[in-house]
Symmetry: C2
Subunit: 109 residues, 2 copies
DNA sequence: AATATTAATCGTAATATTGCAATGAATAGA
DNA sequence: TCTATTCATTGCAATATTACGATTAATATT
């Protein structure tokens, strides 16, 4: 055990959970915020901004890249990372859609 | 190691990460969707709907309760769960705010 | 009272995540 | 070429999460 039983759920449910998981760490939130604010960035300056080791940052960047939220291009010895606008918009819409249908409930509990 | 270094990040960043973590499992997504759809409270029928063991569902419910997304009241031998509308709205707004500022970028990468 | 039902909790096992030191690969500049 | 810089990757240890059987506590039914 210990492994998520993805086969029990719909594709959408697994997808949304995966999206949320990508955001489920303050370092990744912070990285995204830095990238949004500065519009571009490299790994080195992130190490300075956040207090984590270079290897750790690199790993978080890898995860964000894997889910497509960011993209990076090599630029000499450094790497330039930035937000993937398309994925960003998709995330925005996915979460908005999920939370859209407000249960104007009869507060049964 | 293995523990998240929350002290390196702002309160907001940790908060948003915690919110995302609450959604970072398809079972919890599914539970929330059932609660939204049925609007009236579902009691223990969640165990039937999803294919997970009772103990597992109970654990997920506990996590959702801990972050305040759902609330439950005891009703005889069963428990009645439903969405917490206030928290739901807050989540909606938090995520919308986070994804709001689209980087109308100059696509530097 | 005895039994059934419901759901929380405990204990355990399997797996995933987080973090970092060490190492490796690639380019830039001396 | 040699060295410095930058970032990815590997390997490891610590911690967290997921899942479930077994047990427990509580109310409902007989």
């Amino acid at each position: 055990m210990g492994a998520t039983k993805t086969d029990l759920f719909t594709k959408k449910q697994n997808e949304l959970a995966a999206m949320a998981k990508a955001l489920a760490h303050p370092a990744r939130i912070a990285i995204l915020q830095v990238l949004v604010k500065t519009n571009a960035c490299v790994c080195g300056s992130l190490v300075d901004e956040l207090g984590l080791a270079q290897a750790t940052i690199s790993q978080h960047l890898k995860e964000l890249k894997q889910v497509g939220l960011i993209q990076g291009t090599i630029e000499g010895t450094s790497v330039c990372y930035c937000i993937n606008p398309k994925a960003w918009l998709q995330y925005k819409e996915f979460f908005a859609m999920f939370f859209k249908e407000l249960p104007e409930n009869k507060s049964c509990c």
